[in-house]
Amino acid sequence: METLPTASPDAEERPYGRRIVLSVIGLGAIGVALGAPLQSAIDAVLSPVRRVDPTGLAELVPGEGGWRYYSVTARQPDLTTADYRLRVDGLVDRSTTLTWDDLSDLPQTRWTRDFQCVTGWRVDEVAWQGVRLNDLLDVVGVQSAARAITFHSHDGVYTESLTLDQVDRDEVMVATHLDGEIVTRDHGGPVRLLVVPMYGYKSLKWLSRIELVDNVEPGYWEERGYDVDAYVGSSNGRNDEPIT
């Protein structure tokens, strides 16, 4: 052992190192065990700070901070309203390809609803506008054999699904506007799906194709462990406030 410059005998030394290590591990375990309640308490303290922060640095601090952007491919589709196309096919009477103008000519629906992600963040009172999916399906005519819909994204990878019962019962929209503006590319624009009562991963971005099928095909994240029926507050083991 080295010689210490002052009288500091070994007996005086304490194993604080391992206590710090174990404390950090303990805090982590408590955080996982308490989970959501502790999370909401800390977010309640931080969110006022986040709102007034002019630097944007508060975005780096973990917690609920409005929208977060996820994309699963290397590049996000770059589409203008002029070159946007939406195919509707499968078990329908009239397979159709719709343009932006076609969508604008259909009856418009407006909903202001919260948007909740399965990873925890929630955006309050988002104003959506677009064509209710039921109205769009009336145009193409759904065959009696159809039971479900598979949605495809212009990113070429992401898919999602809904049963026709869910489409009838729930608020589902082909959304073209978000908070009064045309849906931006980062938000999945110009046209995305909105499934109001379900977690965000059901609201597929860059909607390219609506395919009527006879059976539910689990979507991208559902192949990776998330629930197919993704109602906010009663799926994925979460207890968020439902969205209606």
Partner: protein, 201 residues
Amino acid sequence: MTSTPMSDRPTDATTNPSPERRFSTAEIAVHAAFAVLIGIGILTAAIMWIDTLAIAVGRRETVRTIHLTVGLLAPLPLALGLLSARFRADAVRLERWSSSDVAWLRARDRRSGRIPVTRFNAGQKLNAALTVGAIVVLTGTGTVMAGWLWSWPTSTRTDATWVHDWTAFALTLAVVGHIAFAVRYGRGDASTQNHGATSTS
């Protein structure tokens, strides 16, 4: 060994390990490997965390795979380091706190030399312990997030995500502080706050 008139100690680190070299080759290798892994971990985390970077880079699955790989490898250099006697001896020194360590951490004039410091100061001990704890928490919560070992409920996975985010945030601050102190006060240099550094066990 030759010496220039201006220097009374070797300047070439590749010559025989001199008693004045603060760390052994094994320790330097462990530090370098650990730093690279943690660095890549922070970089890939930033790509997944900061919206601007997430949008610019995309490829979430690839970034995630790199992040998980370096995360799993991160404890490895530390484990291999335990094969080295000097690494073990330094780990013990980092782990033991004397009463003057506590006093040093509390003192405003801790850099004045009034409070004697042994091979590692209390700040370095604190950083080492927090880093080891953080690595365990990050590996553990990361395992839950990735869905490994068991089919964790999504609620547990999101709770683990929350702890993982905060721990990663704190560790990143610690790393930034660690680098800042190293730049300011010197690193691996026998001339800096290293009473007792010239003897090895």
